[in-house]
């Protein structure tokens, strides 16, 4: 792996494992069996990529073999003009109600460890 170009999910996966192992240690658990992650549609992180790095990085740790469960909250865009909240079609962020292009992100950028299951 040393000479491969790594995607930005690599560091994120390291952070996930650090968080998980800290919590498992606090709970005096021997093994982590499941990790529930929330990665919003707009978060810019690819679950398959996290899964790939997780298998590599968790080897030999109490998190090895844990199942990763992903929730991906959809992109929620709010129109600044008429306050309609909508899910964008493809990458077009125009308000479906009033056609305004003045919009802000309300949801979909989440990225956190929600819960873990341990033994």
């Amino acid at each position: 792996m040393a000479s491969r170009v790594r995607m930005h999910e690599f560091g994120i996966t390291e952070s996930i494992i650090n968080i998980v192992l800290d919590k498992a240690k606090e709970a005096e658990a021997n093994r982590v069996t499941k990790i529930s992650l929330v990665a919003g549609e707009l978060s810019g992180f690819v679950p398959d990529c996290i899964q790939f790095y997780f298998e590599f990085l968790s080897k030999g740790s109490p998190a090895e073999g844990a199942t990763l469960h992903f929730e991906s909250p959809p992109a929620q865009i709010r129109c600044r003009d008429c306050s309609t909240v909508f899910h964008p079609q493809d990458t077009v962020w125009t308000c479906p109600s009033c056609q305004s292009e003045s919009v802000e992100i309300e949801g979909g950028r989440e990225l956190y460890v929600k819960s873990i299951e341990v033994e």
């Binding site: 170009v5 560091g11 952070s15 919590k23 990225l111």
Partner: protein
């Protein structure tokens, strides 16, 4: 089996290092820009032009982020006080710059002898946008040959930018880039975005951009003095 609620932001580790970087920069009176764009949009050229314009009045440091090679730092080193190259291929964590790489780079820069730090991120419109580095401002460079649809395709990076520099203005006669509609799309996402139109080839617009940057720097400095 036992379930433990965690709810912990995965980017927290990066964000806290970014905050430390920011403190270190502030303590040394250095104003930092995180410059992002697609590959080839002109980040290095903008740094070269900016440094050439400002080097008599400001002491400038540069962090060059690239996946590989030191070509960009070789181009930049004659124009600035100090340059540090970060090649993300050799770093374990990421393809884009992350706060920890910048923390290491800051140790190799003479911060007390600098006023301005230009951080050239890796050419990419997706990955860099998620990682705060400790910068005061995010600058996105968009060049005319890329097309005017980029804010629609990569909304996040434009949502978070303080400044959008439209580069390669000399291409305007040859490409179908509608500058007003591009600006309208960015402002839709980000009403506070500030725009500059430049050509790093001819130098057009560079004086305006640099004059504005200098004003931002001095207003930041006087604000800091008041805070102290």
């Amino acid at each position: 089996m036992k379930k433990i609620e965690v709810v912990q932001n995965i980017l927290e580790a990066n964000d806290s290092i970014a905050a430390q970087n920011r403190e270190l920069l502030e303590a040394n009176g250095v104003f930092a820009l995180n410059i992002m764009s697609a590959p080839g949009a002109g980040k290095t050229s903008l740094i070269l032009r900016t440094a050439a314009e400002l080097k008599d009045r400001l002491r400038i440091g540069v962090i060059e982020g690239d996946v590989a090679s030191t070509l960009d730092s070789e181009r930049v080193q004659n124009e600035v006080t100090a340059v540090v190259q970060v090649t993300t291929r050799d770093a374990s964590e990421s393809c884009a710059l992350i706060a920890n790489m910048v923390a290491h780079a800051l140790k190799r820069l003479p911060l007390e002898q600098m006023d301005l730090l230009l951080i050239e991120n890796v050419g990419n419109l997706i990955c860099p946008s998620e990682f705060a580095l400790g910068e005061h401002m995010r600058v996105v460079v968009s060049s005319l040959p890329e097309g005017d649809d980029k804010p629609t395709k990569y909304p996040i990076i434009f949502s978070d930018a303080s400044v959008v520099v439209i580069n390669k203005l000399d291409f305007l006669p040859y490409v179908d880039f509608d500058i007003p509609s591009f600006q309208k799309a960015v402002l839709g996402l980000n009403p506070r975005a500030k725009f500059f139109q430049v050509s790093c080839k001819t130098g057009a617009g560079i004086k305006d951009w640099c004059a504005w940057l200098e004003r931002e720097l001095s207003s930041h400095k006087s604000h800091q003095k008041i805070m102290k």
